[in-house]
Amino acid sequence: MSVQLLMFFACALLAVGGAVVLILAREPIHSALALILVMVSLAVLYLLLGAPFIAAVQIIVYAGAIMVLFVFVIMLLNAGVEERTDYSKIAKFAGVPLAFFLLLEIAHWLYHAEAGAAIANGAGAPQEAASTYTLSELLFRQYLFPFEATSILILIAILGALVLARREE
């Protein structure tokens, strides 16, 4: 087994495990930590796919900024332990079988479809890690308009948050 495959399975396991803990943990801060674990494992998966820039951005934006705010708010509000409800009945009778069925379907598709087999064998994956230079070339030449439009959208969101959060004089 190659090192890369080993790394993939380790990180995939961590990501899925983190996601499960995120749902099951009763302390909000444990959930937040599990989410950070998911983010970081995803970043490593991006690295394995030959996209170091996306990996770094994933860590900086999600694990380094957004989750810090989450943890900060949880600490500030000193959120207590979640109370358990006795799960909804629909989940027990419809949700669980449906989820199982979905997993089966995905597994079936991945196993039989040519695309799935090709992906599993590494087709379509870039031979070399995409350089930041190529990426920026694409981002700032070919896709300049969507890029700028997104930044204006985010700016509007920030202004909206400011207006909402401002106290009335």
Binding site: E27, I29, H30, L33, I36, A43, P52, F53, A56, V57, I59, I60, A63, G64, A65, V68, L69, V71, F72, M75, L76, N78, A129, S131, T132, Y133
Partner: protein, 403 residues
């Protein structure tokens, strides 16, 4: 055996990691000695003096003391996170150092450059990714201790690190614009050359504003005086690590010093030409500087041994003298001489920054919390933003060479 020859990168990397870990751990230990000595002399004291000659064995004594102290865990604390936090802090702090190039990539063993562990295409970005995670160690330590003072320290540190990280990153973008790359070795190589054949073309010249912003934000990021509000012992006992004892406390301490080293290394790389020599290439005598410097140190130590030391201290300082003289002689061997130029200049520059850190600590009083926040957001951020815009304009209108 076949595996080793087929995967030289794996083997060489493991050896490099082991060596670097040893060097960094030793450096951390002696950085505490260095800091105590310098601060002591700023305050007209002697500092560590009794354990070993000039207190040189003090770090060892401290380490042993930390190991043998009782390891307390406060009741009602979140046990898992309480243990996790110091490990997280130290691991992230040490990971960052793996990205630092200590010498030119041309020095190779088995086809692998030996002075850098990981020469990533996105080096700078990755370093920021790791340092941006560093806040968790402090914040989680504060939260999990189940102590009001710790929690306040943790909250302060999260707020402070988020605020100053923005300025820190923005102050560095100017350099990235000039270099046109995020790779550390390329950024350094781009700084070679001289103005008027004399002054090195380091980025500190065109990016002086960026450098000042960087060094201010960096001190805040590492929670050092005058920005040490997360610890603020006059206000919060010891802040986020109030409840920590024994080796867990030592780990926070080591993480802080490792972060200091990382930040100093980054300042050296981005603004002061990394492993480049400050002198023009035509001055060939500069090759002798490392060896000569160490020999001078050895001679001074020998003088000190004979005139000042008595008893066991004299023996200890003799060892130091012989070490300095031996290393100095080694550096003068013609084969070794060109190899150690890069690491020597890099270390020298980093030491200057570390001294600057300690100097600041010995000189400035602590900020008030509201002053800290308004300074970060209302002064540092606009200035570093203006620096970025000016650099971009400078670049767009073609006033600089294209990298």
């Amino acid at each position: 055996m076949e595996f080793i020859t087929q995967h030289p990168i794996l083997v060489v990397s493991l050896v490099k990691i082991a060596v670097l870990l040893f060097v960094v751990m030793t450096a951390l230990a002696y950085l505490t000695w260095f800091e105590r000595k310098v601060v002591a002399h700023i305050q007209s004291r002697w500092g560590p003096y009794y354990v070993g000659a000039h207190g040189l064995l003090q770090p060892l004594a401290d380490g042993l003391k930390f190991l043998f102290k009782e390891d307390l865990t406060p009741p009602e604390s979140d046990r898992f996170i309480y243990v996790l936090a110091p490990f997280l802090a130290l691991a992230l702090a040490l990971t960052a150092i793996a990205l630092i190039p200590f010498g030119p990539p041309s020095v190779q063993v088995l086809g692998q450059p030996i002075f850098i562990i990981s020469n990533l295409d996105i080096g700078l970005l990755f370093l920021f990714a790791i340092t941006s995670m560093g806040v968790y160690g402090v914040a989680l330590a504060g939260w999990s201790s189940n102590n009001k003072y710790s929690l306040l320290g943790g909250l302060r540190s999260s707020a402070q690190m988020i605020s100053y990280e923005v300025s820190l990153t923005l102050s560095v973008v100017g350099v990235v614009l000039l270099a046109g790359t995020l790779k550390f070795n390329d950024i350094i190589a781009d700084q070679s050359g001289y103005y008027w054949h004399l002054i090195p073309k380091w980025y500190v010249v065109p990016q002086i504003v960026g450098f000042l912003c960087y060094i201010t934000a960096a001190i805040a990021e590492t929670n050092r005086i005058p920005f040490d509000l997360p610890e603020g012992e006059t206000e919060l006992v010891a802040g986020f690590h109030t409840e920590y004892s024994s080796f867990k406390f030592a780990m926070f301490f080591m993480a802080e010093y490792a972060n200091m080293i990382t930040v100093s290394c980054l300042a050296t790389i981005l603004f002061f030409g990394g492993w480049l020599s400050p002198f023009p290439d035509r001055w060939t005598w500069q090759l002798y500087v490392p060896g000569a410097g160490l020999l001078l140190l050895g001679i001074y130590c020998a003088y000190d041994t004979v005139t000042q030391m008595h008893g066991i201290a004299r023996l200890q300082l003799t060892v130091v003298t012989l070490l300095a003289l031996g290393l100095g002689a080694l550096c003068l061997i013609p084969v070794v001489m060109p190899l150690i130029q890069g690491p020597f200049w890099f270390t020298a520059k980093v030491l200057v920054f570390l001294f600057f850190y300690v100097w600041v600590r010995g000189t400035l009083p602590r900020f008030r919390y509201d002053q800290l926040m308004s300074f970060g957001w209302k002064l540092l951020l606009p200035v570093s933003l203006a620096n970025l815009v000016l650099t971009a304009a400078w670049f767009v209108y073609g006033w600089v060479r294209h990298g």
